[in-house]
């Protein structure tokens, strides 16, 4: 591909062209393979002394390897441990490499600043010790949702929570605005088994939403397209049926404000 010819920063790594101490650049790959990779993300991946990455499919892993040979995936989730422990391990990798004087790039799928513990752990540790840390914006699942949904979810205001925040932290939100619930398919799953839905946690979340909106309130399960050959998934259901509705760790729940749900269904 034409733009791949720009790879490898004219043959130099950042350490070779700068005399500064190590730094960390945190980037996002977006959701759709290759399509969502921004120009500035690409150049930071190409130029880093070391790239660590999390990719959801093999093509992105291959692409990062093509852009920079000094790249390696973050270690896999620790089995049987809370995911937080894995994120701490990833943070340590980044911090140690930067302290060794490397210009490190950490690449995450989606947006690196949204629900990515490692990004902020590393950012805080390194900045406190005087190192340069950059985070670049990227295309998140929410960005895709706003593009795909067909109407402006923000027009009358919206609330956005990770599913566990609603379930465990007793959040109060404005029912007259749209509600976006991230990661509903993995609510209650705290270890590496993200692909297994915790039915009891999901049931509790559904009950909580039914108390506020009613059983027949229309909601939508959204999943962004991962490849250029796919279409996004936008499936309607009711809160009463949500607990048994097909969903994945990639699913986002959209709960339209009460007056809004019927209108969208009529448009469909």
């Amino acid at each position: 591909m034409r733009w791949l010819s720009h790879a490898r920063y004219r043959g130099f790594t950042l350490t070779e062209v700068t005399a500064s101490k190590g730094s960390l650049t945190i980037v996002g790959l977006g959701i759709k393979y290759m399509s969502h990779l921004t120009a500035e993300t690409r150049t930071w991946i190409e130029s880093a002394d070391q790239v660590y990455y999390v990719a959801v499919e093999p093509f992105s892993a291959d692409l990062i390897g093509e852009l920079n040979a000094a790249s390696t995936p973050f270690p896999n989730y620790l089995k049987g441990e809370p995911r937080g422990k894995t994120y701490q391990l990833w943070t340590k990798l980044l911090v140690d490499d930067v302290k060794q004087g490397k210009h490190v790039c950490a690449a995450f799928y989606g947006h690196p600043g949204m629900y990515v513990d490692t990004s902020y752990q590393a950012l805080e540790q390194l900045r406190n010790e005087g190192y340069t840390v950059r985070m670049l914006p990227a295309i998140s699942a929410e960005s895709c949702l706003f593009a795909d949904f067909g109407e402006d979810l923000s027009a009358e205001g919206f609330c956005s929570y990770e599913a566990c925040q609603i379930l465990y932290e007793e959040r109060i939100w404005d029912l007259t605005t749209n509600l976006i619930v991230w990661q509903i398919g993995s609510v209650g799953v705290g270890d590496e088994n993200i692909h297994s839905v915790d039915k009891s946690a999901l049931q509790s979340l559904c009950h909580l939403l039914i108390e506020r909106y009613g059983e027949q309130h229309q909601v939508f399960i959204y999943e962004a397209a991962q490849f250029a050959t796919q279409k996004p998934r936008i499936d309607a259901t009711t809160l009463a049926e949500l607990v048994d509705f097909p969903m994945s760790a990639k699913s986002t729940l959209v709960v339209p404000r009460k007056e809004h749900a019927k209108r969208r269904m009529q448009q469909n």
Binding site: M1, P58, G185, A228, Q230, K231
Partner: protein, 85 residues
Amino acid sequence: MSVKKILEELATNAKSQIEFEQAPEAFLSARGLTAEEIELISGGQNPEAAHPSTSTSWNNTVNDVYTNTVNDVYNNTDNRVFEAN
């Protein structure tokens, strides 16, 4: 043409994307994909076919097809799954 190359073409060429949207099967078969591969990569958002996070079929079927097609073994064959962010 490999699946990877086709995805890259679609990601970087709007004219190809339009051509694909108008006639996906013709677009893909013209690039030498088999019926099975066409079904897998044009299958939209069928959770059992297209989503690694929901199904073992990603690793058992889709991943095999993709990696076999690109003739490049993906190192992480350990059922990596992630949430949306």
